[in-house]
Amino acid sequence: MTVRGTAVSLRAASAALRAPRAAQAATELATPALVCGALLVTLAFRFPQLYSSNGIASAVTASAPLILTVLAMTPIAIASPGGIDLSVGPFVAFLNVGIVHWLVSNGYGNPVAVFAFAIGVGIGFQLIQGLLIGALRLQPVIVTLAGYLVFSGLNLVVLPQPGGTVPGWLERWGAATSANTPELYLLLGCGVAWWLFSRTTFARNVRLVGGNDKAAWVSGLSPTLVRVGAHVVGGVFIGLAGITLTALLQSADPTQGASQTLMAVTALIVGGVSLAGGRGRALGAVIGAVDIFLIGYVIGTLDLGSSESFVSNLIYGAVLIGALFLGSLTGSVAGIRGRLTRATGSPATSAVLE
C-alpha cells in the first residue's frame, strides 16, 4: 500500500513540478516575445527581404555578436545582485583586435587557434573579474566599469586604426548567402549548451546564490566559488562573441565596443533578466537581443538619413522603459493573485484543525 501510494504521489509530484514552472516561464518571457512578434510582423511589411534566404543569412551574421554577448552576461547577472557586466563591449572588440592583429597577421588564422585564443582569453578575463567580485566582494558595476575603461584604451594602444584582414573561413561566415551557415549552427549549439548547463546543479546554485547569498552561505554553499564559476561560463560565450564580431566586421575595429555595451545591457533587461540577481532566463535574454537587433532594422527602413543614430538611441531608451513597465505589470498581477490566496487562508489547514 505504501509503495503504491508513494509511486502515485511521486508521479503527481513530478507532473506538478512541470506545470507551474511552465506558467512562470510564460509570464517571464511574455514581454520580450510580444515585442519580438510585433517587430517581425512590422518587418514583413516594411522589409520583406528579411524573409529571404539571403536576408536571414545576413541577419544571423549581424545579430550573432549581440546574442552571444547577452548570453555571456546572463549567468553573471543571475549570480549576483547588480551583477551587470559593463566590460563586454570593449572586451569583445579586444578579442576582435587580438584575433586580427595578433593571430591572423602572424599566420595563426586557423579555426583551432582562433577558438582557443578567444575562449581562453574570455575565460581568463572573466576569471579575474569573477575573483574581484566573488572573492574580494567588490561591486560588480565598479569592477566591470574598470574593465570597460581598460579595454577601451587598450584596444587603441594595440591597434590605433581599424584595419587588417580575416582568414578565409571567417570571410565565408561573413559573406554567407544562405541560412545554412556555420554561424547559425554555432548559435544553435550555444542554445543547446545553455539548455544543458541550465539543468545542472551548478546552474541551480548560481540562481540560489544570486537570490540570497547569505542564505546560501550559512547553508554551506560558497558564493565565491559559484560567482567565479558563473563568470567562467560567461567567458566561454564572450569568446564566441569575439569570433562572430570578427566575421561580421571582416577586419579589426578598436572603437566598436562602447556602444555595444549599452546595446547588450538594454537587450538583457528587455529580455527580463533581473539586475537584482537570482532571476532571469537565457531564452529571454536572447529574445531581448533579437528585439534590439530587429529594432535596428525597423529604424533602418525609416530612411532617416543622418539623424538615424539619434533616433535609434531614443527608441532604444523608450523600449527599455516600456519593457520594464510591461514586466512590472505581469509581476504585479501574479503578486496580487498570491496575496489574495494568502488572505483567505489555506483551506487545507482549516480542514485539519476542525
Binding site: 509530484a13 496575496r339 488572505a343 483567505t344 487562508g345
Partner: protein
C-alpha cells in the same frame, strides 16, 4: 511513516538520567562544549565569557534578554562567526565554516528566516545540501523526502515546486526548519524558530524536537516564550550581558527562576491586576468590516480607555484586521470609524488614519518599522518630520526633545542618538518604534504583535505602557500571538477565524484556554461567524 531516516548509534542513545534533567555522572560525551568564549563587535562585547555544555539527547535552552548574546552564540556555534577567544567543540571538532559545520552534523535555524526569493520551495529546502557541481539526490528523491516531512510538520500539503515568493512567513519558517531537519543533524540549533508560528504549530515543532532528542540529537533552543521553555526544555543555560550566569535543570526551570537569573534579580515577575476603570465613550466602531474576499463581516465597538485583544491562528486574518484599522489596507466592505472629540472619521487610507489620530506599531520591525540605514533619532522622528520643518528644512531640536521625553518614559537604552538603529537590541528597537508613534500623540494605538522577538523585561515595560495609555483614555487594539498577554491586558478578546469574528470573550470568562478553544473553532459562535 518514517521519513527522517536516521542511524542511531549505541553511544547516541541517551541515558535516562539526562532525560530526567540531572547532570550525568559518567554518561556520553557532551555534544557541545563552549568554554570562555568572547566575541566583540567594535567596542560592544557581545559574548564575554560564555560557557555551555550540552549532551546528546537533551533539549537544552539558551535563555537571556535581548542583547545578552544569544544570537551571537548561535552564530559562533554554527561557525558563521569565529570566536575571538575561548574554546568551541561540537561533536569533538571546531568547524571552520558553515559548510564544515553542516557536514559535521550541525544544523542551525537562524532567527532571520533565510530563504531565496524566486527559487522553488524544493530548492530552498535543499539549499546547500547539494555539492557545487553535483547533486547528491535526484529531484524525485528530494520530493519524496521533502513532501512527507513538510506535511508532517505543517499538517498541510504544499506544492514544493512553487516559488517561495507568495508563501506566508509561517510557511517560510517551516521551510527553514525542514531544511535543517533534512540534513539529519546530530546537533540542532534553533534561534527563535517559533517566532513566526502560532501556538498549535509551535507545539507540533516541540513534539518533533522531543522525538529527535529521543533519537539522541542534541537540541539547542532559543525562545522568548517562557511556556515553551518550562514545558519542553530539559535544561536551560541563562546568559546575561554575554556571560553564562547559570544552568538550570528541568525541575528548576520556572518562569520566576528564569526571570531572576536573566535580570540579575532586579525584576519582579508579579502580575499587576488590571485596574478597574470606567470606560469612556466609543472610540472605534467596526461596522460590517470584511478583510478578505468571502470572509464573514466583523462588527465591534472599542471604547476610549479600553484595550481590545485580537486573537487568531496564523492565516486567519488578524494582521490584516489591525492593518485595516490602521489604514494600511483598504477594507473590502464595511467601515472603520474613529470617533474623536465628538467628530467621526472614516478610515480608508493611511492619510485618513493619520488625521483620525491612529498610531500603528508592528512587531515585524524589518518590514514595517525600521529604516536600518538611519540612526536611532532619524528613525524615531519619522512621523514628526512633516510637522517640524522650518522653510522645508527639518528642525531636529524639537524632535530631539521629544526623543529625550519618550526615551525616559520608555527607558530606551541607546548609547547615542546618532548611532545606527540596528546597533540596538530588538527590544530597544521596538521601543524606538513605539516612541515614534507616541510622539505623534495618537488617540488610538493599534499594535500588530508588538512583542515578537522582544525580551521579557521589555515586554513587562510594554505591558505597563499599554495600561498607562488606556488609563489616559486612549483606545488600544492589540493583536498578539501570545495568549497570556491578551488575557492579562484586555477586558475583551475578539477571536477571528477565516477572516471574520468567531467569538468575543469578555472579562470573567477570559482565560487562555477559552481563547485557544475559540481560535480552534470550538468556542461558542459569535455575532459574525458563518
Amino acid at each position: 511513516m518514517q521519513t527522517n531516516v536516521r542511524v542511531v548509534e549505541p553511544s547516541d542513545i541517551p541515558t535516562p538520567a539526562i532525560r530526567d534533567g540531572a547532570e550525568p555522572v559518567s554518561g556520553p560525551a557532551p555534544a557541545v562544549t563552549v568554554s570562555g568564549v568572547r566575541k566583540r563587535f567594535g567596542d560592544v562585547r557581545a559574548l564575554d565569557g560564555c560557557s555551555i555544555t550540552a549532551f546528546p539527547g537533551e533539549i537544552h535552552a539558551i535563555v537571556g534578554e535581548n542583547g545578552s548574546g544569544k544570537s551571537t552564540l548561535v552564530k559562533v556555534l554554527s561557525s558563521v562567526l569565529p570566536p575571538d577567544e575561548g574554546e568551541v567543540s561540537i561533536l569533538g571538532r571546531q568547524p571552520s565554516s558553515p559548510r564544515a559545520a553542516l557536514r559535521g552534523g550541525i544544523a542551525t535555524v537562524f532567527q532571520e528566516i533565510l530563504v531565496v526569493e524566486g527559487a522553488s520551495v524544493l530548492d530552498n529546502l535543499f539549499l546547500g545540501h547539494d555539492g557545487l557541481l553535483r547533486s547528491g539526490r535526484s529531484t524525485k528523491e528530494k520530493v519524496a523526502l521533502a513532501e512527507p516531512l513538510l506535511e508532517r510538520l505543517m499538517q498541510d500539503s504544499i506544492d514544493v515546486s512553487l516559488p517561495i515568493d507568495d508563501l506566508p512567513l509561517s510557511t517560510r519558517q517551516w521551510i527553514v526548519i525542514a531544511r535543517a531537519l533534512l540534513g539529519d543533524p546530530r546537533v540542532l540549533i534553533l534561534d527563535e524558530a517559533t517566532a513566526a508560528l502560532d501556538e498549535q504549530s509551535s507545539r507540533r515543532l516541540f513534539e518533533t524536537l522531543e522525538r529527535l532528542a529521543g533519537d539522541g540529537v542534541c537540541v539547542l533552543l532559543i525562545s522568548h516564550r517562557i511556556a515553551e521553555l518550562t514545558s519542553f526544555a530539559d535544561r536551560a543555560t541563562v546568559l546575561r550581558d554575554g556571560a553564562t550566569v547559570g544552568t538550570l535543570t528541568r525541575d528548576e526551570i520556572t518562569g520566576e527562576q528564569l526571570l531572576r537569573l536573566m535580570s540579575g534579580g532586579s525584576l519582579s515577575a508579579e502580575r499587576s491586576a488590571p485596574a478597574r476603570r470606567e470606560l469612556g465613550p466609543p472610540a472605534i466602531r467596526l461596522d460590517g468590516l470584511r478583510i478578505a474576499p468571502g470572509s464573514p463581516p466583523i462588527d465591534a465597538v472599542v471604547s476610549a480607555g479600553e484595550i481590545l485583544g485580537i486573537a487568531a491562528l496564523e492565516g486567519h486574518g488578524a494582521p490584516e484586521l489591525v492593518q485595516t484599522i490602521a489604514g494600511i489596507r483598504a477594507p473590502l466592505a464595511g467601515t472603520v470609524e474613529i470617533v474623536a472629540d465628538g467628530r467621526s472619521h472614516v478610515v480608508r487610507s493611511l492619510r485618513d488614519a493619520e488625521r483620525a489620530g491612529v498610531g500603528y506599531v508592528s512587531g515585524d520591525r524589518t518590514r514595517e518599522g525600521l529604516f536600518p540605514n538611519l540612526s536611532v533619532l532619524q528613525n524615531f522622528g519619522m512621523a514628526l518630520y512633516r510637522r517640524s520643518t522650518r522653510a522645508g528644512v527639518i528642525a531636529f531640536g524639537p524632535i530631539r526633545r521629544r526623543f529625550v521625553e519618550q526615551s525616559e518614559r520608555l527607558s530606551i537604552t541607546a548609547r547615542r542618538q546618532s548611532s545606527p538603529v540596528t546597533s540596538l537590541s530588538g527590544g530597544n528597537q521596538q521601543k524606538v518604534l513605539i516612541g515614534r508613534v507616541l510622539a505623534a500623540s495618537p488617540r488610538i494605538v493599534v499594535l500588530n504583535d508588538p512583542t515578537r522577538g522582544v525580551d521579557i523585561r521589555t515586554k513587562q515595560d510594554l505591558y505597563a505602557l499599554l495600561r498607562e495609555l488606556a488609563a489616559e483614555g486612549k483606545a488600544v487594539i492589540l493583536f498578539s500571538t501570545e495568549i497570556e498577554e491578551l488575557v492579562d491586558l484586555c477586558r475583551r478578546v475578539v477571536v477571528l477565524r477565516h477572516g471574520g469574528s468567531h467569538t468575543t470573550i469578555s472579562e470573567g470568562e477570559l482565560t487562555p484556554a477559552r481563547v485557544l478553544a475559540g481560535m480552534f473553532g470550538r468556542g461558542e459562535t459569535g455575532s459574525g461567524a458563518a
